[in-house]
C-alpha cells in the first residue's frame, strides 16, 4: 500500500508540524520567532483539514474552504502581529518577551 495514500501519514505529518510549532514557541527568544512558530501550528491544522477532506469527508469542498479560511486568518494575523511588534520595538527598543512587563503602550 502506498504510504502517500494513507490518512494516518498526513495526520502524523500534521502532528509533527504542531509539535515543531510548540517547540519553537516555547524556545524562541524573540517575538518574531514566536510568530514564525505560530505559522507552523496553523499549517498543521490546515493540513489536517485537507487530509480529512480527502479521505473522510463526504463533501470535498468543505476542507478546501476551511484551509483557505485558515490562510486568510494567518495573513491577517501576521500583518497585525508584525505591526504590534514594530510598535513594541519603538517603545521598548527590544524584542525580548521577558522585558515586556506592562501592558500600557
Amino acid at each position: 500500500m502506498m504510504i502517500s495514500a494513507n490518512l494516518n501519514t498526513y495526520l502524523i505529518i500534521a502532528a509533527v508540524l504542531l509539535v515543531i510549532g510548540i517547540y519553537g514557541m516555547v524556545q524562541h527568544r524573540s517575538l518574531i520567532g514566536i510568530l514564525i512558530s505560530s505559522e507552523f501550528i496553523l499549517n498543521g491544522a490546515a493540513l489536517n483539514f485537507m487530509a480529512f477532506n480527502k479521505f473522510v469527508a463526504p463533501n470535498p469542498a468543505v476542507g478546501q474552504i476551511y484551509a483557505l479560511f485558515i490562510m486568510g486568518i494567518a495573513a491577517a494575523e501576521a500583518a497585525i502581529v508584525v505591526s504590534i511588534i514594530i510598535a513594541v520595538y519603538r517603545k521598548y527598543q527590544s524584542e525580548d518577551p521577558e522585558e515586556l512587563q506592562d501592558m500600557k503602550m
Binding site: R29, G33, I36, F69, M71, A76, I80, A87, S94, E95
Partner: protein
C-alpha cells in the same frame, strides 16, 4: 503508468523531508532570517502535500499567500526591529530548552498513541461533488457564503488595525 506512481511516491518523501527540514531550520537557527527561510521551505513542502491530496488550487494559494505574502511581511518585521546578538545566541541554549523538549515530546506521544493510532476513520459512503475549482468556488459563494464574507471582514479589520498600530508611534515621536 506504474512508474509515475512510484515517482509520485518518491516526490512525496522528498516533500515530507523538505517540510521537516524547514521546520527544524526554523526553530533551531540563530538568525531570524534563516528561520524565515526555513518557514518558506516548510510552506513549499506543505503546498506539495496539498497537491498530493488532490487540490492544486490550494497548493497555488499556499505559495501565493503564505510564501508570497506572509513570509515577506515577516521579513519586513525582521528588518525593521533588530534582535541583538546576545538574545539570538540564547535561542539555542536558553533555560526553556528542557521545557520545550518536554512539551513537544509529550504532545506528540499523546497525539500519536492516544489518538491517531487508535482511531478508525471510516470514509464517507457517497461523495457529493469533486475537488475541482468550479465546485469549490460555487460552494464558497452559495453554500458557505458566510466563510467568504467573514474572511473579507477579518482582512479589512486586519488592514485597518495594522495601519493604526504601526502609525500610532510615529505621530507621538514627531509631536
Amino acid at each position: 503508468m506504474i512508474v509515475y506512481k512510484y515517482l509520485a511516491e518518491v516526490l512525496f518523501y522528498a516533500l515530507v523531508c523538505l517540510t521537516f527540514a524547514g521546520g527544524i531550520m526554523a526553530v533551531r537557527s540563530k538568525m531570524l532570517m534563516h528561520a524565515v527561510l526555513g518557514l518558506a521551505a516548510t510552506l513549499f513542502g506543505v503546498a506539495g502535500l496539498y497537491f498530493h491530496l488532490g487540490s492544486p488550487f490550494l497548493a497555488m494559494m499556499q505559495i501565493l499567500i503564505y510564501v508570497g505574502a506572509v513570509c515577506i511581511i515577516i521579513v519586513l518585521g525582521v528588518m525593521l526591529g533588530n534582535t541583538p546578538d546576545q538574545l539570538a545566541s540564547k535561542n539555542l541554549t536558553g533555560r526553556n530548552l528542557p521545557l520545550a523538549l518536554l512539551a513537544c515530546t509529550t504532545g506528540f506521544i499523546s497525539l500519536f498513541v492516544a489518538t491517531i493510532s487508535r482511531t478508525e476513520f471510516t470514509s464517507a459512503t457517497e461523495k457529493v461533488g469533486d475537488m475541482s475549482i468550479e465546485f469549490v468556488g460555487e460552494s464558497l459563494l452559495l453554500q458557505y457564503c458566510l466563510a467568504f464574507e467573514l474572511i473579507s471582514v477579518i482582512l479589512l479589520t486586519a488592514i485597518i488595525g495594522a495601519i493604526i498600530l504601526a502609525r500610532g508611534g510615529r505621530e507621538e515621536k514627531t509631536s
